[in-house]
Every structure is written in C-alpha cells, then in structure tokens.
C-alpha cells in the first residue's frame, strides 16, 4: 500500500487556510492553553499541591491539537495516559480537566480518573487509557458501531505512541479494522521514546509507516511539530477513512517534558531536549503567524494572556471545588 508522505510545512500552507483567521486563532489558542495547562500542572506537582502522577506532553501540542481539530465534532477519539493535548483540541473544558487532576467532584470524571483518564463522552472522547495500546481495540468497537448503524460522516481516531506500536493489541486492532473495513484513524504520535527507550532500541525497522503495509492499509506521515501539517494531513487521512477504510497516520514529534513525574532524563541529553525545544510547535506557529503577517504581535500576546487567565481560572475554581463525598466512593461501579 501507498504511503503518503505529507511534508507540508507552514511555509507551503494551503492558501485557503490563511484566509481562515478564526481557525488559525483557535489552533494557536488551543495549543497555548494545552502548553500552559501542562506547565501549571507540573508547577502544582512540584509544589506538592497535586496528588498522584502526571504524564505531560509538552512539545506534542501540535499533534494532539492539530489532529483533534481536524476531526468533526461528532467523531470519536480515544486518547492515552498523555491525553491532555488532544482532549483540549477536541473541546474538553479546562476547568473540568483541572478539577479532575485535583481529584474534585467537579472534575470531568468526578475525580475518579485523574490526569491519566480524562475522557469526556459528550465531546466524543471515549477513552483515556493508562494501558499502553489498549485503546486501539476499543476504537475498533466504536468504529464498528458507526458501521453497523450506517453513520456516514463519522470516524474514530485512536491515539497511540511509538511505544504502543509494539503492543499486540495495536497490531490485532489494525488487522481487525482493516479486514472489516472499520472507519478507524490510527494516529501514531511518534515522540521517539517509550518511557526511556528510543525507538531505535525498541524496533529494528523504525519507519513506522511500514506498520500499515502488513495490514493492507494506507499510511500518511507528517511533521508532528507543525500544526498546519498535522491539521491538513489529518483532514486528508480522515477523508480517506470515510471513503476507503482505516489508515495509519504517523506524526513525528518530541516530548520535551519527562515521561512522568519521576523522569530524571537519564536516557537523553540536555542538548537533544534543547534542540527540540527550539522547534517546539507553539512558538513555531506563533512565529509563523507573525512572519506571514497573519497576526500582529498584540494578537499573539492577547492569546497568550487569555490562555494564562483561563488556566489561572481553572486552578482557582478547582481548588475551591469540593472533594467527592466519601458516601459516593463506590457509586458507578455498576450501571
């Protein structure tokens, strides 16, 4: 099967996109909100104000936000333990997300899930899975519903990483979706590390697009640090899924934050992190908008201020919100 290498970069952006200032604004705003959200979560953790664990995706904002924004509101997505970015991209409320991370009843999952499990079914975020690769079979099922009910304009996107790409559940799912023609968009966010292991240590063949070949699927590939490339490639891949069936979309990016709160970055150099920080997607997109004259500095600064305020509000509301009632500790074990 063919692999469409979509090396679109900001420099060759579709002209029609540059006219859509609202879309560009939303992209920058959501990426900025995602960045500031995670920076705030990390700050709260460092201050000892946050219980439990966190997995940040700082550096991966374009992949999460760009993909989620390219989907239709009714499309399903299933995210991972590192799911804050795509959740914000799909429209999950940051107030409810922050409250969830602080374990409050007003959290999107009523404080039952925490940072790893921010699902929002009203927004089509069906799953936020702490087991690497485990959301792919579930995505096949959501796509099966779409198919069985004859819903025409809906796909199901499963996010997973290069680490999950070696899980049996992911391989089984790609095969299952392909053989049954299920509308699944397999979104492989290649941040190059599975916890501490670089892809070169985890797989002999590091061209992840080739994973599609064995299942008779088409693949798409893009610069995952370029939100416009991610957006346009996802749009193209989504159309393909609607028309032909499942496909694999590989987005190349980098997690500048550690794997989880305990990460001491023993497996990579500060130079490597700095190199990627220099091409981080939020600053890169801001600069592009400025250089192209699409947005003025004041507008960019305004988005930055708005995002900062939104996160401060979310934190304030979350700290003020009550804990769940212990009387309800075992509510919702069963429907």
């Amino acid at each position: 099967m063919e692999c469409v290498v979509n090396r679109l970069s900001c420099a060759c952006m579709d002209e029609s996109l540059s006219d859509d200032r609202e879309l560009l604004r939303e992209m920058l705003e959501k990426m900025t909100v995602a960045r500031k959200f995670e920076e705030k979560v990390f700050e709260l953790y460092c201050k000892g104000l946050l219980h439990g664990t966190i997995h940040l995706g700082i550096g991966e904002e374009a992949a999460g936000v760009g993909t989620a924004m390219a989907l239709a509101p009714d499309d399903y997505i299933l995210v991972t333990h590192r799911g804050h970015g795509p959740a914000i991209g799909k429209g999950c409320c940051v107030n409810a997300m922050m409250a969830e991370i602080l374990g409050k009843q007003s959290g999107v999952c009523c404080g039952r899930g925490g940072s790893m499990h921010i699902a929002d079914l009203d927004k089509g975020i069906l799953d936020a899975n702490g087991i690497v690769g485990a959301n792919a079979p579930i995505a096949c099922g959501a796509a099966l519903t779409i198919k069985l009910r004859g819903i025409k304009d809906r796909v199901c996107a499963a996010f997973f990483g290069d680490g999950a790409a070696n899980q049996g559940a992911v391989h089984e799912s790609m095969n299952f979706a392909a053989v049954r023609g299920l509308p699944v968009l397999f979104c492989l966010v290649n941040n190059q590390y599975g916890v501490s292991m670089h892809i070169s240590g985890a797989m002999k063949e590091t061209d992840l697009t080739k994973r599609a070949i064995g299942y008779g699927m088409k693949s798409f590939e893009c610069d995952g640090n370029d939100v416009l490339a991610v957006y346009e490639t996802t749009k193209e891949a989504r159309e393909y899924v609607l028309r032909e069936g499942p496909c694999l979309l590989v987005e190349h990016t980098y997690r500048t934050s550690g794997h989880s709160k305990s990460d001491r970055n023993l497996y990579r150099s500060q130079e490597e992190i700095a190199q990627w920080e220099a091409v981080n997607p939020v600053a890169r997109f801001s600069n592009f908008l400025l250089e192209r004259g699409l947005f003025a500095r004041e507008e960019i600064d305004g988005i930055d201020r708005y995002s900062k305020d939104a996160i401060e509000t979310a934190v304030r509301l979350a700290f003020a919100a009550p804990d769940p009632s212990t009387a309800g500790a075992i509510d919702d074990v069963y429907a």
């Binding site: 579930i138 959501a142 559940a169 919702d332 074990v333």
Partner: protein, 326 residues
Amino acid sequence: MPEREITYAEAVREAMCEEMRLDRDVYFMGEDIGVHCGAFGISAGMLEEFGPDRVIDTPISEAAFVGAGIGSAITGMRPIVELMFSDFMAVCYDQIINQAAKTRYMFGGQAKVPMVIRTPSGGGTGAAAQHSQSLEQMYCHVPGLKVVVPSTPYDAKGLLKSAVRDDNCVIFLEQKLLYCTKGVVPEEGYTIPLGSADVKREGKDLSIITYGRTVQMSLAVAGRLAAEGRSVEVLDLRTLSPLDTDAIIGSVKKTKKAVIVHEAVKFGGFGGEIAATIAGSDAFYCLEAPIKRVGALYSPIPFNPLLERTVLPGEDRIEAAVREIL
C-alpha cells in the same frame, strides 16, 4: 400439551436469538461462530437468520474483538461476544479486567458497557490443561464485572436474556458438559434476574451450596441420601456476582450444616467467599458442624481421563464430604 424439553446449548441459542429479534442493537461476535456455528455448535442457524452484520466472525484475535465489544457497547450497541474457550480470557485479560470492568467507574459514570462475554468453561472433555479451566473466581474479584454460571437449560435461557439486557459487562460461563443436558424450557420469552439463587432441592438436614455442573452431581447425591432418610438441600447460586447472600445464609440457618461445592480448584476458589459469607453472618451461631468445601485438586487439568476424574470433583467426593458432617 407436554412441556417442551430442549438442550442447554439450544436454550443459549434461543436466548440470543430472542434478544436479537427484540433489539436491533444486540449483535453476536466471536471466532468461527458464522458458517462453522461455533466450536460447540451453539450458533447453528444464526448467520442465516441475522446475516453477517449481526453474526460477526472474527480473526483469532481475542484482545481485538473483546475490546471491540467494549467500544461498541460504550457507543450504544449491546454485543454478545463469544470466547471459544474460557481459558482464552487469559489472552484478552487486559480488555476484560482493565478496560470493560473499569470504564464506567474510572470515567465517573459517563459510560456504560452493556456487553455479555459468553464462554464455555470447565473440564471433563479430555481437552487438557489449556481448554478445561474454571476461572470464575478470578472475575468475581474484579469490581465492575458480573459473573453468571447457569446449571440448567431453563436457567441458561432466562439468565442470558437478563445478561443481554444488563447495562454492565457480564461474564457468562457455560460448562461444556452441560451443553447436551436437557430440560424443560418455555418457548415464550422469560428472564431470571441476575443475583438470585435457586433452591434446586429442598432439604432440612444439610445445605449443599453450589453452582454450574456440580449442581447436577449434588442433586444425585441428595437423591441417594434421601433413600436413607436424610434430607439434603441443594442451593444453586446461579450468579456469583452479584451474590445472593440472603439465600446462602437462609439455607444454612435452616439446615445448620453446609457443604460448598464447585468444579474450580478448591484452594483460593469462590467457595472460600461462600464460607466467609456464612461464618460472618448470624448463620455462624446455627452451625452444628464445620463448613466443608469440595473442589478440584490443586493441579492443572490432566489429559488422561482417569487422572482428569481424579483431579475434578465427582459425586463420590461430594457424598463423602456430606456424610462427614451429616
């Protein structure tokens, strides 16, 4: 008009077909369930009646299709998923334990997972260690799952219909040696609520508390003892989770003696939970003898039929345990 008798296998099929006729969202998925009709012939005729969109043959890929059942259940369907042997649950343990059982709670009640996993379990067929286990206790230990083990065709039909209508993931274990057993099953639809035990034989001197295939063995033992003037009650739990604790406690308070029987390995088996239910209730004060448990020996199931009969509990071991305290 004589009452209709059908097999356990036919009762399972009838329950599925009735629910699929009633509700378009119910569909059936598993390995070789279409043309092949399943490893035990359960789905004979279903592909012809419902077509390949509702009787879905899957690749040999348990994690994928059990997970797909979950995903479709979350989005509004009501899948019945067949695992060819209950031992294969180990192949998709993550999807059952970490996904199906957790999805509702972990997301604060946003989702429900109305899915039935039907699967043949138990030994006695010469299928050796990887196709003969009774693993129900492992699922009872996981909050979020329900566990059903019917012993008769009548119960199988009524309980399966309830399981399909339940909004939770139900593990529905069908012991293979029961498939050919026959019993009276009404042609009209009926349901049996999950969580209700059934007194299969009334008695006043001792309670055998059991479920699944050992119900029939226990009834045979109770019949023999009746000839000696001893009155043994046989309580069939039918559902292990939720558990009908009132029925257990009530029966033991009446008979004052309890023997717990299951085909699963005795050590660490569900019988321990039943014994603790009795010992932790006011039935404890009524006990006139120690609680006895009968189960399989602590061993994988052997192939050789003589060895298999040795490892699995039989009427002889049940009768010996009963006589010990009667």
